[in-house]
Amino acid sequence: MLTIKNLQANVEGKPILKGLDLEIKPGEVHAIMGPNGSGKSTLGHVLAGRPGYEITGGSIFFKGENLIEMETEQRARNGLFLAFQYPVEIPGVSNMEFLKASVDALQEHKGEQPMDSVSFLRQAREMYKQVDLDPGFLKRGVNEGFSGGEKKRNELIQMLMLQPALAILDETDSGLDIDALQVVAEAVNSLRSCERSIVMITHYQRLLDYIKPDFVHVLSDGKIVRSGDKSLALELEEKGYGWISEVE
């Protein structure tokens, strides 16, 4: 699904990713943990093709194709999805227009007819209910004046509508109440299949109680410094990140 080799990237001219390797196979769930400022979100942004994030070395292949050469929208159409740590507010553009434009773009890419408005609306309403948001939000501006938790749920709705092959969730569990955590877990678990892969960036091992990862990685100073299974998350919870650098 995704093969990253020796990835180096600058943000505003400053090196942030310093030789990162990661291999994700279809059906796998990976968790990425690591201290604040270590480069987790940067990795997500680089994968999504955010302007200002410059790749200075290494390679990224997504479903066998060179990701670096693709435009952002092309990556999305090929099945890459990033749930933002800080979702963007877009006043004036309703969630409905936004979701419809997005779903239409993906349908068109697949060579399919755009979804008719009635089925689209029905499906969108379902998704809102699934993440416990009032479908009345469909009429509101994208993330406009949403609370932190509502923004995260709105990201999940987009993920559910687009059914990506690779979903990267950047701290979608942060700032959520305990019920909401379950909502995130259900949304992610409903997406899980042998053809899809999921990357969860998180600070909390409790999310991993709900979504069992196949691998846990620790990102520190722009590199994956440790990989293991779920027990690594427990160990981190107990000992903190200092322990890893000491071992090194």
Binding site: A48, T72, A76, A105, H109
Partner: protein, 442 residues
Amino acid sequence: MFDYIGHTLQNPLPVTSGWLESLHQKARLGALGRKVSDESATESWKYSSLCALEENNYATTAKPDPEPDLLDKTLSQTIGIDKSNAHNLVFVNGLFSAELSDVEPPPGVEFVRFSHAEGQHLTSINASLGTMADKHQSIFRVLNELHLKDGMYIRVNKNVELDKPIQIVWLTTRQAQSYTVSSRVLIELEPGSKAQIFETFTSDDAQQNSFTNNVTELLLREGAYLQHFRVHQEQEDALHIGAVHADLYENATLKSFHLALGGALKRVDVAVNLLGEGADSEQFGAYLLCNDQHMDYHTSTEHFVPNCTSNEVFRGVVGGRSKAVFNGRIHIHPGAQKTLARLSNKNLLTSDTAEVDTKPELEIYADDVQCAHGATVAQLDELAIHYLQTRGISRAKAKALLSYGFVAMLLEQVPEPVFAEHITAIINHYFQRHYSEEGCDE
């Protein structure tokens, strides 16, 4: 350079009905010795160039036009409000087209052509025509009268409420020679009456060679209520310098909505005079420009008496190498206490080569008033574009969505769904076409 006024004076219109002839005479005196270039030098034209008007000979008037059938086809394509849902008045190159219009007015309403006006109608027209015009006596108002062959007086009688809107279509077509269209309507709402007027300026698909000088005058008597729409969707080669003048008497309400796609040179001067206590004016407007277009809105709201309210919101999306000019004036005259006046103009620049000159003007000569005004110019939010792209939306579509979003709040102010849908369609169509053009605004 072509001397527009000199040429006009040398080629007077043939004598028509008596009173129009005396209007021409008066205008001739007003135009004598003036030059377009003098007007260019005034503060009012500081940011708008009149060059386009002097590049061609526009001083002649239109020849009578092709078969109405052909025009009807053009019309049904360019006009969104279903003709069956309106009382239609159609003018082709400034001349009233009886074939394309509903000549018979609805009950309680009168349609009187200037050229046919007599008796009591003529008295009403003479009493009001030009009285609302700007006191600066812009040369273009004079020229409007100088070229005027006909016009329409629309009267809604006392306490009459119209069942359907009156749709006025101003259509221009390409002619063998470039030409001037001088057009004018005087709309009078008698006390307690209620109406919707939907004006559309449009053209056939050919490259245009017309210069339209239109004046729309609105007279709202005590307690009258008018929704007035003025939509400019002519081809971009069409020139337009026009004006809307409104007088509002006691407790009258005017809700206006302006929409303009740009052109080589377009300007609309709007003057709203609040003359009776309790009068209320609401104005919303949007302008959408690309290529080398130019659009200029000069608005002024004159609070003459106490206890009136005015609210004005204009938004523009300005791309390509186009230029938008907005001048919004609130003038609170001495004694106009308890006035509530607001004005806002926001602009979105979608390219580095576009330009906006926006200037709010406040003149306040009363102390017990509430007044707010502001103007901003912003650029498309790159992060928002990126966010949309991460959901598979193309950059072009993302820009269209954001641009649409910028003016969408105005559409919420359009009271009737039939108008809102129509205006939404024009705006959507514009952005889709604009951003799908190769390399546009990159």
